[in-house]
């Protein structure tokens, strides 16, 4: 297409606005990740890093059951918490989108408060609640319901799962709410008119049409949980060894930056692969039809 003066000037303005952001992210995020990638091919020689390219790091990790297990564990946590978040968030998203009028923005703002307050304080609050001498245990003992503290409440996969779910619920809720909110009430009324009962309306109309929101939320939670570092560290106790903590160790005490970099990149690629599969699968599924149409 020929660019006339008008178009060219508009492009120039767009470029002026785009360039700083692109340069910022490229220079301080993409480039560092690239540097990290290059490190994954280096070797360690006692206390210095030998810059001779090798595939050894990747080889070692791929053949190590421990590292494979850690990556798998991270992916399973991601999957599990994402599903959990979906199940927990769905009814609330539906409630806020279709059953609330006046308090809608208040309810949404209430969800933003814990989100913006940061993971550190959220985790701290849960440790207060779940600790062995913490609020929940002491309450149950005080009430005489149990005789000794329930140990698995803190420093356990259970605690990790609870807090991960708590931390990332908003990332499921907001896209879901947006998707359901956008649904025209007339679809539901039409379905009801055609003899569908409440559950029928839900399974035939609301659920399929909110598919894109559900998948977006699912992927966000998945990616964030797989990459979470703090929660298992502070809530998981001895079960808190994760692929991210392993990477951290290699950049700390173990001083093995190359292996750490290789592990980091393997984690990134397995996450990306999983996300790509889900997106592709969704796009090709009947649920993705809505998205495909919008593209045209």
């Amino acid at each position: 297409m020929k660019l006339t003066g008008i178009e060219a000037k508009r492009r120039r303005t767009a470029l002026v606005l785009t360039a700083p952001n692109v340069l910022f992210v490229l220079a301080f995020c993409v480039l560092p990740l690239g540097v990290l990638f290059s490190y994954s091919f280096f070797q360690v020689d006692f206390v210095s890093i030998l810059r001779e390219p090798t595939f050894d790091n990747y080889n070692r990790i791929i053949h190590s059951e421990t590292y494979r297990g850690l990556i798998l564990k991270a992916l399973i946590y991601g999957l599990g918490v994402a599903v959990l978040c979906g199940v927990i968030a769905y009814p609330l998203a539906l409630f806020i989108a279709k059953r609330v009028n006046i308090y809608k923005s208040a309810l949404l703002t209430l969800l933003l408060i814990p989100l913006y307050t940061g993971d550190l304080i959220r985790i701290f609050a849960w440790r207060v609640v779940l600790g062995a001498e913490g609020v929940l245990n002491s309450l149950l003992m005080w009430l005489g319901l149990i005789d000794e503290p329930i140990w698995f409440l803190l420093f356990s996969p259970f605690a990790t799962t609870v807090v991960l779910t708590y931390n990332y619920l908003p990332f499921m809720l907001f896209p879901l709410w947006a998707a359901i909110e956008a649904l025209d009430d007339s679809y539901m009324e039409a379905a009801m008119d055609l003899g569908s009962r409440d559950l029928g309306v839900f399974f035939r109309i609301i659920l399929p049409l909110s598919g894109p929101g559900l998948v977006a939320g699912f992927l966000m939670v998945f990616v964030l949980v797989v990459g979470d570092y703090l929660t298992p560290q502070l809530m998981g106790g001895s079960s808190g060894v994760t692929v991210t903590s392993a990477i951290h160790d290699m950049f700390g005490a173990a001083f093995d930056w190359p292996t750490g970099s290789a592990l980091a990149w393997l984690l990134l690629s397995s996450m990306a692969l999983f996300v790509a599969c889900v997106v592709y699968g969704f796009y090709r599924s009947p649920w993705g039809r809505g998205i495909r149409k919008q593209d045209k």
Binding site: G118, L169, D228, F251
Partner: protein, 260 residues
């Protein structure tokens, strides 16, 4: 049928918000409890833990560092975020999805990997960790939030207003200065508040890139890794209350219309 479904949903919503706010409320409750054990039964009311926090010089120093981080981060992210939001809502080009993906990339890269990437990068270019490195790394993570908030406001502004300004002879800068900026002002302010809060709360990346300048979040984290104390409760509660005020103000600004 519909009513029963409705009341079930309503009960669920109550339970949900209970789940979300219970830990925070309990934290608040025990910040006012006189015992230094955080456990039931309650022993009595006290403000001592708060007094202790206000008298802790270390925390005050950390707070100053936090401000030295948060204020520049807020400036960087609102300027860059405004530009990005303008691009996303006002211009059409083929690579726009790629641009959006690039913007959110830093947030979705696992924080630890992002942090060690910063570390190796700084090591390679021979730059010392300090305030500037925290500004940059925090800004990258916070930028997506700021962009979305500003874009949500820009999206609601009728594009023909800007066309009308051009039509009446306003050059791009005048158009921005006299029309777009006044109309998006609330969005920028709302985003700045959130940016400030997010910067205060950020821990993982700050921990790796801050070096010797330790903001409050890094200080407190090392404390509570090893022991919980009611004074930490009090501090956390103060932060939460502060955040609540700022977030409510931000949401109020974001939803407010200009002269309606």
């Amino acid at each position: 049928m519909k009513n029963r479904g409705g009341s079930i949903l309503q009960g669920y919503a109550f339970a949900f918000y209970g789940f979300v706010y219970l830990p925070i409320l309990l934290m608040g409750l025990f910040s006012l409890n006189s015992s230094n054990l955080i456990a039931f039964p309650l022993t009595g009311f006290t403000f001592n833990w708060y007094v202790q926090i206000f008298n802790d010089g270390r925390i005050f120093k950390g707070l100053l560092t936090t401000m030295a981080v948060a204020i520049p981060v807020t400036l960087i992210t609102t300027v860059l975020g405004s530009m990005a939001a303008l691009v996303l809502t006002r211009y059409q080009f083929r690579l726009k999805p790629l641009f959006a993906a690039l913007l959110v990339l830093p947030f979705f890269v696992p924080k630890l990997i992002f942090a060690i990437a910063q570390v190796t990068f700084l090591n390679d270019i021979g730059m010392d960790k300090g305030l500037i490195t925290v500004w940059i790394s925090q800004s990258l993570i916070i930028l997506p939030f700021v962009t979305i908030i500003i874009a949500s406001v820009l999206y609601k502004i009728d594009k023909s207003l800007e066309e009308a300004a051009e039509d009446l002879g306003a050059r791009p800068w005048q158009k921005f200065r006299r029309i777009t900026l006044p109309l998006m002002k609330n969005g920028i302010l709302a985003a700045a508040f959130i940016s400030f809060v997010l910067s205060n709360a950020e821990y993982t990346v700050s921990f790796f890139t801050s070096g010797r300048v330790q903001p409050l979040s890094v200080l407190v984290a090392s404390d509570f890794r090893f022991h919980l104390s009611p004074s930490l409760n009090a501090l956390a509660m103060l932060i939460v209350l502060f955040n609540i005020c700022i977030i409510i103000a931000s949401e109020w600004l974001r939803r407010r219309k200009v002269h309606q």
